[in-house]
Amino acid sequence: MEIVKPLTQYLAALLLAPLLPGIINRVKAFFAGRRGQPVLQLYYDLYKLLQKAPVYSRTTTWVFRAGPVIGLAAILTSLAVLPFAGRPSFLAFDGDFIFLLYLLGLARFATVLAALDTGSAFEGMGASREMQFAVFAEPAFFLGLAALARVTGQTSLAGMFGVLTGDLWRTAAPVLALLTASFFIVLLAENSRVPADDPNTHLELTMIHEVMVLDHSGPELAYILYGAALKLWFFGALIACMVLPRHSGSWAGDTGLFLLAMAGVAAAVGVVESVIARLRLIKVPYMLITAFAFSTLALIFQMGR
C-alpha cells in the first residue's frame, strides 16, 4: 500500500495550500494592529468565484481561456513531483527539478500569453515585467539547485532532501544557509510578494502578477488564485525541506513537523511584508541578482570544501 502515502501527501498539499495566504494575511494584520481576514478567506473566495459566470472581452480568443487552465495544470503536475517532507511523491527521477523548473516556465508562458491576449496596456506591462524578472530569477534558482546537487551528491529532489540531515547542516552550514536565503528571495519574487511586488494594490502600475490577471473572472480567476496558492506551497515546501532535515523515522511525525515548518515559512513571508517596503521596480532585478550571488557563493564554498 505504498501508493497511499504519496496520495495522502498530494491531497494534503492540494487541500492545505490555500491556507498559506491566509496565514500571511493574519501575520500582516497582527503587525498592523488589525484583526484581519479569516484564515480560510481564500477558500471562501474560491468557492464564490466558482459559482460566478465569467465575462470575456471581445478582444480575447481561446488563448485567454486556455491560460489559467494550462497554468493550473502545470503547477498541479509539479506538485506530483515535488517531495513532501523530504519524501518522494508520485514521480521522482534524476533531474526532476529541471522538469519542475520548466513546468513553472510553462505556467508563466501561458499566463503571459493570456495577458497579452486582452490587448490592454496594463496587462501587457505586467506580462513584460513578469518575463523580465524570470530572466533573473531562473538562473538564481538553477544555480541554487546546482549547489544543492553538489552538496548532497544527488540529482533528484527526493534524493537531495533525503540526505539533507542535521549532520550535513553541521558540516556545510554556510552553504545551506546561503541556499536557503537564495531560495527565499526567489520565493518572494516568483510569488509576487513584497518587496518584488505587492499583492494588495490592484490598481497600481507597479504591479506585476496581479495586473496580468485583471481581466480574468469567475472560474478562471479561481483557477489562477488557486494556482498561485499552490505555487506558494511549492516554494514553501522547498524551503521547509531545506531547513527541516528529517529527524524522526515516522511518517506522521515528519509530516506534522513539515506542516509546522510550512506555516513558519508563511509567517516569515508575512513578517517580511510587514517590515519591508516594496522596492522600486528597477531595483527588483538587483534583489534577484543578490539571490544569484548567494547561489554562486554557495557553489564556490562547496567547491572549496
Partner: protein, 655 residues
C-alpha cells in the same frame, strides 16, 4: 543506400523538369513538389531503416575526378541527420506549393523549385558522402542553390545585401574546409574518409580550428553568425524553414565527423566548443528578443539553438577528457536529439511566420496583432512551436535539453573542471531558456494576440490547406516526440555510437533510457492533468456567455489598439538592461512642456557583431583590393592571358 541515391537522382531530375517548365508556373510547381515529396518518402524509408538496424551501409565507385571517389556511407549518424532533412523538405515542398502560388507570374517559380530540390539533393549528398571531394561538391552545391533562393526577392535591396554576405561567408567557409581536408588527407591517394590517418597533436589542433571555422560559418554560431539573420529571413518562408531547420545542421554534422578523424581529443577543444556554444545560446536568445521582424526573431533563435547543441558537444568532450563517459554520452545524446527537435519546431515556426507574411503582407511585429482571430489554426500551431522552442514540456524542445541538463548535473558532482563545465553549460541553458521564453512570448503576443495594429493586420487572410497540412504535421510531431520519447532510444544510442565512438554508444545505452522514459511520463502526466483541468473548467459553465464587452482595463472605456503593449515596449525592460551588449539605437521624445504635442519614438536593433567586427574588416579588405585594381582592365583579351599564364605556370610546376 540505393534508395538514398535514388532520392538524390529523383531530386535532381525533378529540378531539371521544374526548370524545363519555367514558363508554366503551375507545372513547375507540380514537378518540383511531387519530386520532393517522392524523394522524401524514399529517403525517409532508407534513413529510418538504418536507424532501426543501427548498422552502416557503404557504396564506393571509382570517379575520374582527381583525389575523388564516389564513396557513400549511410551510418546511423548520417541517418539521424537525414531523417529531418527528408521530413522537413517533403513538408516544406507541400507548404511551398501553397506559399508560392501568389508569386506565379511575378517570380521564376521553375528556378525556385529547381534550386529547392537541388538544395535538398546537395544536403543529402553532404550527409552521405564518404570522400572529401564529393563532400565539398555537395557543400558548394548546397551553398549555390541556397544562394539563389536567398535572392528570390532580388528586387529588395535587403535581399541583395543578404545574398552578398551569404556568398562571402559560404566562400570563406569552403576555403577553410578545403585546407582542413587537405591536411587530413595528406599522404593518401584518395581523399576518402576511410583513408584519413590520425594526425599528430599540433596538426590535429590546426585541423580542429580550420574545421571549427569552416563548419562554424555554416552552423552560424556567434561570432560566425552574421550571414544567418540576413539570409534566412530573405528566402521564401518554406526555404527559411529548411535552411534554419536542417541546412545549418550540416555544420554540426561536419564538425562531429571531423572530431572522429582527429583521434584523441584535447581538452581545450571541448572548452572552445563549450564557450562558443554558451555565448551563442545566451546572445542568440538576447538578440532574438530585440528584433522587430518575426523571421529575424526566428533566425536569431536558430543561433541560440545551434549554441545549445554546440555547448552540449563541448560539455561532452570536456567530460570525455576526464573519463566521465556517462556524462559525455548524455551530453552527446542530448545534442543529437536537439538537432532533430530543432528542425521540427523551427520548421513549424518559419512556416507559421510565412503564413503571417502571406496573410498580412508583412512580418513586422509592430504592424501586426490580433491575427489569432483571422487565422486561429496558425496561431495555435505557432504558439505550440514557440512553446517547443522555449523547451516547455510537453513539447519536443524539452527532451533534448533535458538530456543536456542531466549531463551537466552529472558533471556538477564530479571533478572541479568537469563541474565548472557542467555549471557553465547548465547556467547558459537556463539563462537562454528564460530569454527565449521572453522573446517568443513577445513575438507570439505581438503578432497573434490583442487587437490588430494596422489595417493590413486587420484584413489578414488564413493560409490555404496545403500550408496548414504541413504545419499540422510538424506540430503533431513536436508533441509526439516528447510523449513517445522512449522510441527514440535505439536511434539515439546507435547515432551516438556511430558519431562519437562505440564507448559513448555503450554508455548512452546505459544512461539515456531512464531519462527518456521519465520525459514521456512527465509529458503524459502533464497532458492528463491539463485535460482534467480543462474538462472540469468546461463542465462548470458548459455554455459560457460571451458578453459583447471591451477589455476591462481598470474601467477605461475607450481603449484603442495603439494603447496596447507592442513588441518594443514588451522587450524594453530587458533590452534596456542589456543595452551594453545590444547597443540598440533609439530616438525617444523629450517632454519639456506641460501640454506636449505629437511625439514619436523609434528603436532599431543593430547587428552588433557585424557592425563592430565584420564591417570594418570588410572595408579594410576592400581598400586592400583597390590597390590591385590595376590588374582589372575589363578587357577580355587580358583575362584570357591571365588564364593562359596561370595554366602554363601550373603545367611547368607539375613537370
Amino acid at each position: 543506400m540505393l534508395l538514398v541515391l535514388l532520392s538524390i537522382i529523383l531530386l535532381l531530375a525533378s529540378s531539371a523538369l521544374a526548370l524545363f517548365f519555367s514558363r508554366e508556373p503551375s507545372r513547375a510547381q507540380d514537378a518540383g513538389a511531387y519530386g520532393a515529396v517522392a524523394a522524401s518518402a524514399l529517403g525517409l524509408w532508407a534513413a529510418v531503416r538504418t536507424l532501426a538496424a543501427g548498422s552502416a551501409e557503404t557504396l564506393s565507385l571509382p570517379w575520374s575526378v582527381p583525389l575523388g571517389s564516389l564513396s557513400f556511407c549511410l551510418d546511423p549518424l548520417s541517418a539521424l541527420f537525414l531523417v529531418p532533412v527528408f521530413l522537413l523538405t517533403g513538408l516544406a515542398a507541400v507548404y511551398g506549393v501553397g506559399y508560392l502560388r501568389s508569386y506565379a507570374g511575378s517570380k521564376p517559380l521553375g528556378l525556385a523549385w529547381a534550386a529547392f530540390n537541388t538544395l535538398t539533393a546537395a544536403m543529402v549528398l553532404v550527409f552521405t558522402a564518404a570522400n572529401a571531394v564529393l563532400f565539398l561538391l555537395g557543400w558548394e552545391l548546397m551553398a549555390a542553390a541556397s544562394f539563389l533562393l536567398v535572392l528570390f526577392e532580388h528586387d529588395k535591396a535587403q535581399s541583395r545585401k543578404a545574398g552578398f554576405i551569404y556568398l562571402a561567408a559560404g566562400g570563406a567557409g569552403a576555403l577553410l574546409l578545403m585546407a582542413a581536408f587537405a591536411l587530413l588527407g595528406a599522404g593518401s591517394p584518395l581523399l576518402d574518409f576511410a583513408s584519413f590517418r590520425t594526425p599528430s597533436g599540433t596538426a590535429a589542433s590546426a585541423i580542429f580550428l580550420l574545421a571549427l571555422g569552416g563548419f562554424g560559418l555554416k552552423a552560424g554560431f556567434i561570432p560566425l553568425h552574421v550571414w544567418l539573420p540576413e539570409a534566412h529571413p530573405a528566402a521564401p518562408s518554406h526555404v527559411s524553414a529548411v535552411m534554419s531547420g536542417v541546412m545549418i545542421k550540416t555544420g554540426i554534422y561536419g564538425l562531429i565527423r571531423v572530431l572522429v578523424f582527429l583521434g584523441p581529443w584535447q581538452e581545450w577543444w571541448g572548452w572552445t566548443l563549450l564557450a562558443a556554444g554558451c555565448v551563442s545560446c545566451v546572445l542568440g536568445a538576447l538578440f532574438a528578443l530585440a528584433q522587430h521582424e518575426l523571421k529575424r526573431v526566428l533566425a536569431y533563435s536558430s543561433i541560440e539553438n545551434i549554441g545549445i547543441i554546440l555547448a552540449a558537444v563541448g560539455l561532452g568532450m570536456v567530460g570525455a577528457a576526464h573519463n566521465a563517459d556517462r556524462l559525455a554520452a548524455l551530453a552527446f545524446a542530448g545534442a543529437l536529439l536537439h538537432v532533430f527537435n530543432h528542425s521540427l519546431f523551427k520548421g513549424l515556426l518559419f512556416m507559421g511566420a510565412g503564413a503571417v507574411l502571406h496573410g498580412a503582407g508583412t512580418a513586422e511585429l509592430d504592424a501586426l496583432g490580433g491575427l489569432a482571430k483571422k487565422m486561429p489554426r496558425t496561431a495555435l500551431l505557432f504558439i505550440a512551436g514557440a512553446a517547443s522552442a522555449c523547451a516547455l514540456p510537453p513539447f519536443n524542445g524539452f527532451a533534448g535539453e533535458f538530456l543536456v541538463y542531466l549531463g551537466a548535473f552529472k558533471g556538477i558532482s564530479s571533478y572541479p573542471a568537469v563541474a565548472l563545465a557542467g555549471v557553465l553549460a547548465g547556467l547558459s541553458l537556463a539563462v537562454a531558456g528564460a530569454l527565449a521564453a521572453a522573446a517568443f512570448a513577445r513575438a507570439a503576443g505581438a503578432a497573434f494576440l490583442g487587437e490588430p495594429r494596422t489595417e493590413r493586420a486587420a484584413a489578414a487572410h488564413p493560409p490555404d490547406g496545403l500550408m496548414l497540412f504541413s504545419m499540422y504535421a510538424l506540430g503533431a510531431l513536436c508533441l509526439a516526440v516528447c510523449a513517445a520519447a522512449p522510441l527514440l532510444l535505439v536511434p539515439l544510442v546507435s547515432a551516438v555510437g556511430a558519431g562519437f565512438g562505440g564507448g559513448f554508444g555503450a554508455a548512452a545505452a546505459l544512461e539515456v533510457p531512464g531519462p527518456l522514459v521519465y520525459i514521456s511520463a512527465g509529458a503524459l502526466l502533464l497532458a492528463a492533468v491539463a485535460a482534467i483541468a480543462a474538462v472540469k473548467r468546461r463542465s462548470m459553465f458548459p455554455a459560457a456567455r460571451t458578453a459583447d464587452v471591451p477589455t476591462w482595463d481598470c474601467g477605461y472605456a475607450a481603449p484603442t489598439a495603439r494603447m496596447q503593449y507592442g513588441a518594443s515596449s514588451f522587450a524594453q525592460p530587458l533590452t534596456d538592461f542589456f543595452q551594453p551588449v545590444l547597443r540598440k539605437l533609439g530616438q525617444y521624445p523629450v517632454i519639456a512642456e506641460y501640454f506636449p504635442g505629437k511625439a514619436s519614438f523609434s528603436t532599431e536593433a543593430q547587428a552588433v557583431v557585424y557592425n563592430a567586427v565584420y564591417a570594418p574588416a570588410a572595408a579594410r579588405i576592400r581598400d586592400l583590393a583597390y590597390r590591385f585594381s590595376w590588374l582589372q582592365h575589363g578587357r577580355l583579351q587580358i583575362y584570357i592571358m591571365y588564364i593562359v599564364v596561370t595554366l602554363l605556370g601550373l603545367l611547368l610546376w607539375k613537370l
